[in-house]
């Protein structure tokens, strides 16, 4: 269950992962990286059975400070990740599906099967909308949703809430 605060384990694991990533940025060749990654793992494993939370927190703090001092100024970022070279690059080609409703009839006539099927899907969406809203209202806690995850359909014959946005989402790499 996700909460507003990170647990100690989560913080340690996050420190470990980002340390490994920055180590990968420093040690370009894989054998050298594996050597220093093993040393890093050994340093983390040395204190993994620490039961005293005060000491564990101090160790974590020292680890974060060491990470800050030794981080790479240009860490490797995957191209599609935030900050990467092709992040959001194809968003300009991702057109929302409601644009199809604004096509000229002569353009729609070029794809009759597709648009007739689309009308059926739209009717289905109208039919299931009230049930989706009712399910979301029933299942959302009083203080607002805790996560962005949507619940599945609970009853037989129902569609999952907000399925339309998922089904009509644009492709990751629009052609």
């Amino acid at each position: 269950m996700a909460a507003a605060y990170l647990t100690h384990q989560q913080k340690v694991l996050r420190l470990y992962k980002k340390s490994l990533r920055h180590l990968e940025s420093w040690c370009i060749f894989r054998d050298k990286y594996r050597f220093y990654a093993c040393l890093l793992r050994a340093r983390f494993d040395e204190n993994k059975n620490e039961k005293d939370m005060v000491k564990a927190t101090k160790l974590l703090k020292a680890g974060e400070e060491e990470f800050w001092a030794k981080q790479h100024p240009q860490p490797y970022i995957f191209p599609d990740s935030p900050g990467g070279t092709s992040y959001e690059r194809y968003n300009c080609y991702k057109v929302p599906e409601w644009v199809l409703d604004h096509w000229h009839p002569s353009e729609k006539a070029m794809y009759p099967d597709y648009f007739s099927k689309r009308e059926q899907w739209k009717k289905l969406r109208e039919k299931s909308w009230d049930k989706e809203v009712a399910q979301l209202q029933a299942e959302t806690p009083a203080g607002g949703p805790r996560t962005e995850a949507l619940p599945p359909a609970r009853k037989e014959g129902d569609l999952p809430p907000l399925w339309w946005q998922y089904v009509t989402r644009p492709k990751e790499r629009p052609a």
């Binding site: 050298k32 050597f35 191209p79 070279t85 992040y87």
Partner: protein
């Protein structure tokens, strides 16, 4: 011979018409074939290249030069503005080179941008850019040059921000516009100065009438314009940021053509500068600083396109140094040879990026020599040419520049910086080759590696031939206007070669340390280089923050406070308060003192009136 002039004029006009016609046919003609327009533009540029060869051969064979003035545009009293094209050595040589490089890039872009839905628009933008560049290069007056200047700037903005949904691309495009805009201020100032003092924007008239005038102010304006356009130190951050655009854009605009427009401007107007030691020294020092600073930045970059971008900035600094040495012909020679190998380096990087699924970090490349041999061979040839390897294109221009620098009795500090930058050029070139071509692959196994496509290999091969032959052809075909120093001690003659080999050797030694089990802590100069000298960090944060904070204070507090309080109620209140306090404090009940003061003052006034 008049017939030669007619042939020259006709072939130039045909070249222009061939270039301009696809812009109109795209509006008037719609084809069912999606890629029709792409093929049409590529063919047009190819044809324009072949037609532009005729003036080139005529010029080299007979020395014919021409100025075509065909339209009287406007005049204000005695100030005339005409459309005039100057076909001299500079424009006749540069136009075919630009067209050759553009042909290669367009053919490459037809593969690189194949999956882009707006590929036709992309090609149109590149074509409009090319037309603007040809306008700039062939302009015989400053107004036409300014039109071309702004045209290339606008197309650069549109092409850098091609993937406009990406925030970094928009920032980079804006950065390019702002930094180049600062340079445009200098150019507009120079235009105004020339209109006011020389009463003309025509080149020939300017050269004659400016002889007796103090040209410091307009030349500083021109140098500022070149600083902005050619990414010299101070206005350089836009060039590495411009790598946000697609690789064909980087290859055409930000390496071969647009980025040298500033240097071209100085070369074109070199008759104004040649007798002005202040301007020449400024160019020398600015160029030396630029070339060393950007070379240092390139040493620690991990993005392959940024390495090549900083290399471009460094070479444009070297061109500026050459202008500072009063050798505009050598600067122009370097512009021409640089176009070939730099465009080829960018195209090679584009093939590698596509092959590795948009991977641009050299830390995740490796072993590509065995997988894409043509591309990596061209990358190696381009890097060797960049280093000034003997008898490749870069050698003829770079070696001549270093020799001229060594034999001049000018600034020894600029000489030292340039030599150091030359050595470091070899270092970062080797670093790039080492991480890209050599050792084992560091990328995922399932990468779409394929260079067995004509659209890739043909442009690369053409540019490789250009890299190998262009320097030799240009040096053999054209006599330099100023005779070079022909005899010098061997250590001066071999300086460029020795320092390049030295840089190469040291870089190779350091590269071999990278896969040894030696931990090291990076020093401050590593961070200085990786963070690009902290220049973007300071300039893009400190000054905007200061100005925004000041304007916020003025806009929200100072103005409101002044008009609503200080000019009205609060001032009246404080005045009244101070008057009332003073008046009431005076009344302390000291009647004898008040009366005596009153009578004393009265007596003084009566006596003064009496006398």
């Amino acid at each position: 011979m008049p017939s030669l002039h007619i042939i020259l004029t006709t072939s130039f006009i045909i070249t222009l018409v061939i270039l301009i016609s696809p812009v109109f046919t795209s509006i008037l003609y719609k084809s069912l074939n999606r890629n029709w327009h792409t093929h049409h533009i590529k063919t047009a540029v190819k044809m324009a290249f072949f037609t532009s060869l005729l003036p080139l051969f005529l010029h080299h064979h007979t020395g014919t030069e021409l100025t075509i003035t065909n339209l009287h545009w406007m005049n204000i009293m005695t100030f005339d503005i005409n459309t005039s094209f100057k076909l001299d050595h500079l424009s006749i040589t540069f136009v075919p080179i630009a067209l050759y490089v553009t042909w290669a890039i367009l053919e490459f872009a037809s593969w690189y941008m194949k999956s882009d839905p707006n590929i036709n628009q992309f090609f149109k933008f590149l074509l409009i850019f090319l037309i603007a560049m040809v306008t700039l290069v062939t302009a015989n007056n400053m107004f036409q040059l300014f039109i071309g200047w702004e045209g290339v700037g606008i197309m650069s903005f549109l092409l850098i921000g091609w993937w406009w949904a990406r925030a970094d691309a928009n920032t980079a495009a804006l950065q390019a516009v702002l930094y180049k805009g600062v340079g445009d201020v200098g150019l507009i100032f120079t235009l105004g100065w020339m209109a006011t003092n020389l009463n003309s924007w025509e080149m020939q008239q300017m050269y004659i009438t400016a002889k007796s005038l103090d040209m410091n102010a307009p030349l500083i304006g021109l140098i500022l314009a070149a600083t902005g356009k050619s990414a010299q130190f101070g206005l350089h951050p836009w060039l590495p940021s411009a790598m946000e655009g697609p690789t064909p854009v980087s290859a055409l605009l930000h390496s071969s053509t647009m980025v040298v427009a500033g240097i071209f401007l100085l070369v074109r107007l070199s008759p104004l500068m040649q007798d002005n030691p202040f301007a020449l020294t400024t160019c020398l020092i600015l160029g030396a600083l630029t070339t060393l600073f950007t070379t240092i930045c390139a040493l620690t970059q991990n993005d392959i396109k940024k390495i090549i971008a900083f290399s471009t900035s460094s070479q444009s600094g070297l061109m500026m140094v050459t202008i500072g040495l009063n050798q505009p012909y050598l600067a122009f020679l370097h512009i021409c040879t640089h176009a070939f190998f730099k465009a080829m380096l960018f195209l090679c990087s584009g093939v590698i990026i596509h092959a590795l699924n948009n991977e641009q970090d050299i830390r995740k490349m490796g072993g590509l020599l065995y997988l894409i041999p043509t591309t990596t061979s061209c990358l190696t040839i381009g890097s060797l040419a960049l280093m000034g390897t003997p008898f490749l294109a870069g050698f003829f221009s770079k070696d001549a520049i270093i020799e001229a620098l060594n034999n001049s009795y000018l600034n020894a500090w600029a000489l030292a910086l340039t030599l150091l930058a030359t050595s470091l050029t070899a270092a970062y070139s080797l670093r790039m080759i080492f991480f890209v071509n050599m050792n084992f692959p560091r990328f995922p196994a399932l990468s779409p590696i394929n260079e067995n496509i004509k659209s890739i290999t043909n442009p690369l091969k053409r540019l490789a031939w250009g890299t190998i032959l262009a320097g030799d052809l240009m040096t053999c075909a054209v006599l330099p206007p100023k005779p070079p120093m022909l005899s010098m001690p061997p250590y001066i003659k071999l300086t460029a070669l020795v320092i390049t080999i030295l840089g190469l050797t040291i870089a190779l030694e350091l590269a071999l340390f990278t896969n040894k089990q030696r931990p090291y802590m990076p020093k401050q100069y590593f961070y200085f280089s990786t963070m690009l000298g902290y220049y973007p960090t300071i300039m893009h944060r400190f000054f905007p923050y200061t100005f925004l904070k000041l304007s916020q204070t003025i806009g929200t507090m100072t103005i409101d406070q002044t008009w609503l309080e200080k000019t009205g109620p609060k001032t009246i209140t404080s005045l009244n308060l101070s008057l009332a306090t003073t008046t009431s404090n005076i009344q302390k009940g000291m009647m004898k003192t008040f009366l005596s003061l009153f009578f004393t003052t009265l007596m003084i006034i009566i006596l003064l009136n009496y006398y």
